[in-house]
Symmetry: C2
Subunit: 222 residues, 2 copies
């Protein structure tokens, strides 16, 4: 059976779980640490990072983007990249935007301050980092709204890795109760469409011990 | 004519220049700033990052990995990813390793301390950062040697994006005179093979005003 090493609050692991489900692929989930380096895990992935996918025949595929490119090549239907060359550029551009820029400016700071410090009992959250991350979040939601009022999905006509990457990041922040949905109705409408997809269901029901999401987190109509 | 917005000391821009040359594609180079955000450039790429490729018909392709995936799809011959599914996983895994882990642990610190501070006349280099980056460099060169004594090229039998990404990072550090080649003969042998490729020639002849590379930097036999 296919296996995925993951952590429920890692946006990059969520991205792979949703992608697998969109392609109709089952997998067993194995919990790994969100940030520390477990020596046994380094033998599976020398970079020490999750997610790592192990295919049924034992092939190891590390790193969320490597996994997603692999999934598209090994299981092309349904496509999450699109068929047209320029469409694929736009999907990959926005995927990178959320995986790198959004993650660096928003998710990473909130995860460190609100999750990692809490799980390790190490220090109180830094309010400046939290405030800065939230300010960046508003800028990114503005950009997301700019895109989504012009297009059916973030990168164009098809539901793609761009939507999956954006929703994976945002869903982690939503778990922490930090998304100001009332200020961003178009982003909210897009996220409601994502939440109602079967591929998103298991994500919404996972819970991290000691960190409770707001009541609307798993509601489809919120 | 195809255009590339770049900076001569950006490893990610070098990666795209080498990739274009390996695929036999000509382009005009347009110099951009290495790190600050030129407002006119933000209209070309809203993330503000170089490289950006503009195709002859005007299509804009930002971000080194998006560009490289695009080049492989638009100009598949010669392939820089390989044909076999598992080979492509290994090429992409190592490409990420050098683009992200190596860049974060080694190149980024050395570029900030030795290039960006110098170009901006802002502060003296931090010797702790330089020492840490060099320690990481030795670890990465060990890993590179571990790979290259087992394989013809870094990811396997074919010259690939993995070699291009690694050589792009290392060539910038070599420009700064920071690669301890005498300690890593197998890595040196691999880099000599890279330097002798026609795609690498223009990289070796570029010079940044005010920052002079060591004499061996552009020699093929060093």
């Amino acid at each position: 059976m296919r296996k995925l090493y993951h952590h429920i609050l890692s946006p990059f692991c969520r991205k792979v779980r949703i992608s697998l489900a969109e392609k109709g692929l089952q997998c067993d989930l194995i919990s790994e640490d969100l940030s520390s380096r477990n020596p046994a895990f380094l033998t599976i992935n020398p970079s020490g990072e999750i997610p790592v996918l192990i295919e049924g025949e034992g092939n190891t595929i590390p790193e969320h983007n490597v996994i997603c490119e692999y999934l598209e090549e090994a299981y092309p239907d349904p496509s999450l990249l699109g068929k047209d060359l320029n469409d694929r550029v736009e999907v990959r551009r926005l995927t990178r935007w959320f995986d790198e820029k959004f993650a660096r400016e928003v998710t990473s700071g909130l995860l460190i301050e609100k999750v990692i410090k809490s799980l390790r009992y190490s220090g109180t959250p830094n309010s400046v980092t939290i405030r800065t991350s939230k300010a960046f979040l508003r800028e990114h939601l503005q950009y997301l709204e700019w895109l989504i009022v012009r297009r059916r999905w973030l990168a164009g006509d098809i539901f793609s890795y761009a939507d999956i990457s954006a929703a994976s990041q945002i869903s982690v922040i939503d778990y922490l109760g930090d998304v100001p949905w009332d200020k961003f109705p178009d982003a909210k409408d897009w996220y409601m469409r994502i939440k109602s997809r079967p591929s998103f269901r298991s994500i919404l029901h996972d819970r991290q011990t000691g960190i409770i999401p707001p009541p609307y987190y798993s509601e489809l109509d919120f």
